[in-house]
């Protein structure tokens, strides 16, 4: 149980922050003192305060990624004391509050570390590889305006609920940063499972999984060796069961892609 919100005793901590001026430049840890903090402030609000201090001294503040500050946009991405998104379970960096720390703590703050996520500056990394995977097949092809009435295709509640569990992914990349192989399997499997659970997603099911997995490999993400660090670090606690599900889909799709009869007609009734 965390401390109560009414506890007003302030705390002071030392931050050890990764500073790196730009891509491919050497980085190093720098210590900053953060004093007299209100335990009700969020970790990022603490960084705001530290940054204002640094700025007032005429130095460049710590660059860190953030936006919604409520755990939904997937922008924030710090590794805190060795853990992507820090010590809490099922939260993003922006949902971490200073009441999780103790007076006098040393807090080590780094960017998400993974080969496919190069550092851009300080705590900010480039996660565009995720977008590339999505572009390869993370969709159901439906031309705007061509959809049938939404209730014409019932979806069992159980499937819809499970799809929602997978769809909760915020695309932050903590799964990759937590994995010793820097694998993106949790991210990819969540999307593959969400779309594969719907009747609407069936026509492209095989194509989707093959394309997304091959792009994932091409982007340099590693293999999954079933350590499940990904689910443990996931701010939405997305289950690694989806990885098993995707593996099954992938096998079936690979098999079918070899043996599936192919139509001779390619153009299809051009008139």
């Amino acid at each position: 149980m965390v401390a109560s919100s009414t506890s007003k005793s302030s705390l002071s901590v030392t931050l050890r922050v990764w500073r790196q001026a730009g891509p491919n430049q050497p980085g190093k840890f720098v210590d900053y003192a953060a004093k007299d903090l209100n335990p009700d402030m969020s970790f990022l609000e603490m960084l705001d305060v530290v940054n204002d201090d640094i700025t007032t001294k005429g130095e460049e503040p710590i660059a860190f990624a953030h936006d919604c500050r409520e755990g939904i946009c997937g922008t924030c991405s710090c590794t805190i004391n060795g853990k992507p998104h820090g010590p809490g379970r099922g939260i993003a960096t922006c949902q971490l509050y200073m009441r999780s720390f103790h007076d006098g703590d040393l807090i080590v703050v780094e960017p998400f570390r993974a080969r496919s996520f190069p550092v851009i500056k300080d705590l900010i990394t480039d996660r565009s590889a995720f977008d590339k995977i999505m572009q390869a097949g993370g969709f159901i092809t439906v031309r705007t305006g061509a959809a049938p009435d939404a209730n014409s295709i019932p979806v069992p509640k159980h499937d819809a609920d499970l799809a929602m569990d997978a769809a909760a992914c915020i695309g932050c990349g903590a799964c990759v940063a937590a994995c010793r192989n820097a694998s993106a399997m949790l991210f990819v499997s969540a999307k593959v499972s969400q779309l594969g659970l719907f009747p609407q997603g069936q026509p492209e099911r095989d194509k989707r999984v093959l394309a997304m997995v091959s792009t994932m490999d091409a982007m340099g993400f590693g293999n999954c060796t079933n350590q499940y660090e990904c689910s443990a670090a996931c701010p939405k606690t997305i289950s690694h069961d989806f990885i098993a599900r995707m593996n099954r889909d992938y096998l079936k799709a690979s098999f079918r892609s070899v043996f599936k009869p192919v139509s001779n007609s390619t153009g299809g009734g051009a008139a």
Binding site: V2, P61, C73, Y97, D131, I140
Partner: protein, 640 residues
Amino acid sequence: MAKLESKVPSGPLADKWRKHKADIKLVNPANKRKYDIIVVGAGLAGSSSAATLAELGYKVKSFVFHDSPRRAHSIAAQGGINAAKNYQNDGDSVYRLFYDTIKGGDYRSREANVHRLAEVSVNIIDQCAAQGVPFAREYGGLLANRSFGGAQVSRTFYARGQTGQQLLLGAYSALSRMVGAGAVELHTNSEMLDLVIVNGHAKGIIVRNLLTGAIERHAADAVILATGGYGNVYNLSTYARQSNATAIWRAYKRGACLANPCYTQIHPTCIPVSGDYQSKLTLMSESLRNDGRIWVPKKKEDRLKEPNAISEGDRDYYLERMYPAFGNLCPRDIASRAAKRVCDEGRGVGESGLGVYLDFSDAIRRLGENGVRERYGNLFDIYHEITAESAYQVPMRIYPAIHYTMGGLWVDYNLMSNVPGLFVLGEANFSDHGANRLGASALMQGLADGYFVIPYTIGDYLAGQKPGSRPSPDAPEFKAAEESILGVTKRLLSTKGREPVSHFHKRLGKLMWEHCGMARTASGLRQALKELPQLREEFWATVNVPGSGDTLNQSLEKAGRVADFIELGELLCLDALTREESCGGHFREEHQYPDGECKRDDENFGHVAAWEFQGEGKAPLLNKEPLNYETVKMSLRNYK
């Protein structure tokens, strides 16, 4: 003087859109690929339009300041999206949704636009379900609904408490598909800093690559802004921290009229402020008002008592008391002001006295804790993370906060601004919500604009532009715009004063909240209009923007945005001062009924106030578009 032609088609309301679609000009399929369209923003409005226009064959360039289109602020919407499907068989219809929206907007929106919105709402749900958006479903596999404020039917579709996320990811997947197909050129980490106008038409933008600092010129045949709302003028709000008004503000300075900036929405159910370090206010979805009951103690002295120790008889369920027909589900502006009123009376709860209870104990008795968890579990979790309190055991404490802006760039029925070639979609435009937006209607509007309106209406403009006639980015207009941006950047970087940017943003926010927040007065607004220019001067004289312009520089990004917020704040206050009436989210204390309700003045203010920039240091010009109600009669909003 700007020409404000609404271009509302003639004929009966229900036929206007159909007739318009049949009447407007089309671009033939082979010609579409000869047109480049710039879309700035990839929230619901931006992604849906970029994807759809690319499907149609146009060449689309999409720009976002985020590192991925999936991170747009739309992602944070929780509660749901309205549509007149009438799947619940509870008497809903296109007309009812239209009427509720007009009435909810306090008769300050354009009838024809709103009717069209209600018409296409049904297509949105079809489109999203086909994309694999995991909407909530009933056991039979059909879609589930909930109700939202300002409506007496259940027409809100939702995906747990993450509806915006799921709709955005649907639109993002459609956009990703077109990027993968090479039909959309995606520019992430790219912030639009200026609009380029050539021969009176919007023909391009200037952007800063946020990673390298490079200033780039991009030309096109038309420019679409879908850049979201300006609520962060108030600093503390439910908006994402990076949401900003730079795109619309710079377009305003290039001649696009900004309409009704004083129509800002305050959401009644947000987690109250806890300290000066605060960076954002977290919304607790309006859907909670379906099952939560709002109250404060009847007696001031009970204010700090344990809520569970206050007996039923000593509680004032003030919304149920004042608005028995709608109760806890009355519209946002009304619920917010009622909260302010009871807190002003000294009955507000929590240490600051700026809070009211949102209590689920009745719902837990009725549905069981698990039933409540199933509906609102993630919201209760968010509340717990932030406050370390369990709302299953003690009532939530909530207070109103800035949440949405109904005002925005003026657009006609085709969603084109008064600058030809410049289109504005989603929260960035002004058109559909009048003086107050109903819950679950912003998502509807963003997707309506992007999927179902602009794909038709942009053709009407482009058909008049010769293919290949777009100017080159080497044109002098581009050069001049680029130079002016470089000048601003240089100025910001060279001041090296003593105050960080956040200092000014906080001061601006306090000033705006105090003088132009939930309740406004002429004297308060005059005071704000005196202080804002001083704040602006101080900003330019003493701001400290460390670092350089040729790398990622978050201080520089913030500085540019806050500079624009300060100026926009001034226009907002001027609009609020000029509008001598109360309507929807704009409440002028001088204009109210004895029971505290808004007193509109339809005769003198039944118009859209569209402000036109006249040059630095000059007063902006007020243009008025009269609101002609052909079908509905403007009447007193009644939720009692």
